[in-house]
């Protein structure tokens, strides 16, 4: 039981439930309590701490991961409900030592300062490109509005994403289809 989510009154029957998740390509057989969020499962039980907890209420995007290739907020996702799904976190984007083009672009364009929002920004941006609907800086801004950056790195984030859409957008979108 993780200590961050203090349990409220014990009103229901506790039961741990077996589930199977594919996480960054690896099949994992896990047992979860139904109230465990996907975010807490990743961070506290699987030690995948790349995914960040900002608000824990769907308001910041720091916890963004891809579930079956779609970007979602893992803080508002119960792990038990995703039985059978395939999860990609920031740890799963690179191919061995080769960074994902989005990771390269964030570095090249200095698209972060403290870095806390960055894993969520990058996963969200990868999701955005898989969706294939952003064709201008304006559209990138709107479709990345679910990821807040307290350091205000928005300008460079948009530039980094624009670059990847130009260079790799078609390939990434195709791979998602």
């Amino acid at each position: 039981m993780n200590s961050i989510l203090k349990p409220g009154p014990n009103t229901g029957a506790a039961q741990a439930i077996p589930i199977t998740l594919t996480i960054n390509g690896e099949v994992r057989h896990l047992t979860v309590e139904p109230w465990t969020s996907l975010l807490d499962l990743l961070r506290d039980e699987l030690d995948l701490t790349g995914t960040k907890k900002g608000c824990d209420h769907g308001q910041c995007g720091a916890c963004t991961v891809l579930i079956d290739d779609r970007r979602v907020n893992s803080c508002l996702t119960l792990a038990v409900m995703k039985d059978g799904a395939s999860i990609t976190t920031v740890e799963g984007l690179s191919q061995g030592d080769e960074l994902h083009p989005m990771q390269d672009a964030f570095i090249e364009h200095d698209a972060f300062q403290c870095g806390y929002c960055t894993p969520g920004q990058i996963c969200s941006a990868v999701g955005l490109i898989k969706e294939g609907r952003a064709h201008s800086a304006e559209e990138i801004r709107e479709m990345m509005s679910g990821n807040l950056c307290r350091c205000g790195c928005y300008v460079n984030i948009v530039t980094a994403i624009e670059q990847v859409i130009e260079s790799d957008g078609a390939r990434i979108k195709e791979a998602a289809e």
Partner: protein
């Protein structure tokens, strides 16, 4: 968050039975509202019935020519569906004006209808709130009420319904199909959500064990002259202070039919058919819209911090109708209001 047991039914009848097995059981779909509220101990279900495996995930032609949208269709899939974009662009725009791409990927059609108010006191279990705890009082009426309602309020509650999607559905005369222990029934959108009255704890007329199975859009064409205008504190990822869904049918420069619903101003999407009737036969131009805006707001009442909403709503109505008349709907990307 309290502890709870978990069920994952695979058909509608079983889901309805499951939720009936425990008086404080709840359905869960996208989880974006329920889990949030559970983390604040506002909702404390002892059993969650996960409905995401029910076969309610498709958008199909309805008998009668409209569209039938399964309750589990995610908000993003609904907004980007080809048929919805072609025939009901007002609904697409309303959905895309709300939340974020991640949340829209998770949020379901049924869950969006049943999302609860964002009143800060409702969320804060340390303060009185008639909606959360009937009879405890309303903290907002004399408290911080900038985001609260100006129409249809009661002395018990002045909360708003926060959905954008529902404002579009109300303007489009949608119907909600529900299944319960005694079979299926259909509820018109206008009758689905309630005004607070003496029972602010009841947001809707859905029974406790009833499951939303689908939303139906009628076979009507408002795809040319429409606009969803949403005004808020930042350009994206914020709830509406005021929003307007406007749709017109125009014949030879005159309005043949008008539809309008307002968000952010009441406990339900605010639809006033007497205002729509006033527009029939009038020229589709700004001079026709001002009296209608005044008419819709004739009984509006502010509570201090939200007084500004009355004027804001008046102007938003005129602007949205003008955008609709001109065939230049508010874009949901570039939020500048033209």
């Amino acid at each position: 968050m309290n502890r709870f047991s978990y069920a994952r039914p695979t058909d509608v009848a079983e889901a309805v039975r499951e939720v009936g097995s425990d008086p404080s059981a709840r359905f869960i779909a996208g989880g974006t509202n329920l889990i949030d509220l559970m983390k604040y101990n506002v909702e404390r279900p002892t059993r969650l019935v996960d409905i995401t495996r029910l076969p309610l995930t498709t958008i199909d032609k309805a008998d009668g020519g409209g569209l039938r949208i399964g309750a589990l269709v995610p908000n993003s899939d609904l907004a980007y569906d080809d048929q919805v974009q072609a025939r009901y662009p007002l609904l697409s725009d309303a959905i895309l004006a709300g939340a974020s791409p991640q949340l829209r990927n998770m949020a379901s059609t049924g869950g969006n209808l049943l999302q609860r108010t964002r009143c800060l006191y409702f969320y804060d279990t340390a303060t009185p709130c008639n909606k959360r705890e009937p009879g405890s009082g309303c903290s907002a009426i004399e408290g911080v009420n900038r985001i609260h309602a100006i129409l249809g309020t009661s002395s018990k509650c002045i909360a708003t319904h926060p959905s954008d999607m529902c404002v579009g559905l109300a303007a489009l005369n949608a119907k909600v199909h529900v299944a319960g222990p005694s079979g299926e029934r259909v509820i018109a959108m206008a009758d689905f959500h309630r005004l607070p009255g003496d029972q602010p704890e009841r947001d809707t007329n859905l029974g406790p064990q009833e499951l939303i199975v689908a939303v139906e859009l009628p076979d009507e064409d408002f795809s040319k002259n429409y606009s969803y205008l949403k005004l808020r504190d930042r350009l994206s990822y914020a709830f509406a202070l005021v929003s307007v869904a406007a749709a017109l049918k125009i014949d030879g420069g005159k309005i043949a039919e008008a539809r309008m619903a307002l968000g952010g101003v009441a406990h339900k999407p605010w639809r006033d058919t007497t205002a729509e009737d006033m527009l029939r036969g009038k020229p589709a131009e700004e001079a026709s819209f001002k009296p209608v805006a005044d008419h819709i707001l004739r009984d509006a009442r502010g509570f201090g911090h939200n007084d500004f909403k009355i004027d804001l709503a008046r102007r938003a109505i005129v602007r949205a109708l003008s955008q609709a008349a001109a065939g230049t709907p508010q874009t949901q990307t570039d939020k500048r209001i033209k």
